[in-house]
Amino acid sequence: MASLRSIAGAVVVVMFPVWASAADPAAAGRIKVVSGPVFIVRAAGTIQATAGQALFEADTLRTGADGRVGITLNDDTRISLGPGSEARLDQFVYAPADKRGSLVLKVVRGLIAYVSGRIAKLSPDGVKLETPNAIVGVRGTTLVLRVDAP
């Protein structure tokens, strides 16, 4: 039995790199719906958003005057932005094996819809939508907010 276990351990070590490279572990979610001008702003620069693209922690989404975008995060949280909107994925931690998760979305301006995913169940205080003058703690499930920038 002991030798069987060490074989099993060896299999885990050998397989780890295979599945670690199989997915993009750093991606927080993906863009699913795009219409009109939509941009992803990240440290490396601003790029046009297209459906299917990966989204990462610290990315900012920005929509033009007739742009809209919808994303699904890795915990099945769904977020959308209406026209003339901007929001930054300040924090995204989803580690269900460790029963940990947190999501902080900083809404700069515009219209946002949010439908909770697994993080809200895993960590009821873990979801925060920040606006310039208030913080929204969401205990599920669905919420919309409008931020009027000065």
């Binding site: 199989a22 959308s80 932005l81 219209l111 003058n133 205990r139 669905t142 009027d148 000065p150």
Partner: protein, 214 residues
């Protein structure tokens, strides 16, 4: 119309064109400035109608949103306003553009496995066409696959078994033409039981793979 009046009209339209040109040359100056503010509305879940709860707070106070379309507003640094429900048409008028851009809900499946094995049970094998169809029906799909085991055997060997189960599902998903980079495979081993049991307990409902097609 007299000749003089025609001249006045002409002069006025020229002046207006001048204004327009001037406006083009300089950045537009917003005439009305809304104070910084926010409107927050709690909604029933779009799929099952369940209404959750939310807290809106700043240094000046907190509002608790409970019930369908409960809303609060914040202007400047004032406390969130008293909670009042909006009606459906108001919500649609303000938020329709954002709501209509929400992606569809993820399809979730749980497949079960034979004891100590990465072979699906006959019942779960019969569900595979539904999983494949969900991938085909989803625009720009990506899939999360999490393998689980019961508590028979060591924790380490169960992480490995959960991974084998998840990878078996991954192979099936690859067969649909889905790119490998769009399939996220993980294993929780025996750490995330569907049915809580003591250690070293055979429990068919814990021998499973959870699939989220989104």
């Amino acid at each position: 119309m007299t000749r003089d009046r025609r001249l006045i009209v002409l002069l006025m339209s020229t002046a207006c064109a001048g204004c327009l040109l001037a406006a083009c040359a300089h950045p537009p100056v917003p005439v009305v400035r809304r104070p910084a503010g926010a409107l927050v509305v709690l909604l029933p879940d779009p799929d099952d109608g369940v209404v959750g709860r939310a807290f809106v707070s700043n240094a000046a106070g907190t509002a608790e949103l409970e019930g369908a379309r409960a809303s609060t507003g914040i202007v400047g640094s004032s406390a969130p306003s008293a909670v009042k429900p909006l009606d459906e048409s108001q919500v649609q008028m303000v938020f329709g553009s954002a709501l209509s851009s929400l992606p569809p809900r993820a399809h979730q499946f749980t497949l079960y496995f034979d004891f100590e094995s990465d072979q699906l049970t006959a019942e779960s094998r019969a569900l595979l066409p539904q999983v494949v169809q969900a991938v085909k029906d989803t625009p720009f799909p990506d899939v999360a696959v999490i393998g689980h085991t019961d508590t028979t055997g060591s924790a380490a060997s169960n992480v490995e078994l959960g991974l084998r189960r998840a990878n078996m599902v991954r192979q099936i998903l690859l067969g649909t033409g889905l790119e490998g980079s769009l399939i996220e495979v993980t294993s929780h081993g025996e750490a995330d039981l569907l049915v809580p049991t003591p250690d070293d307990t055979s429990e068919p409902r814990n021998r499973r793979v959870e699939i989220s097609v989104r």
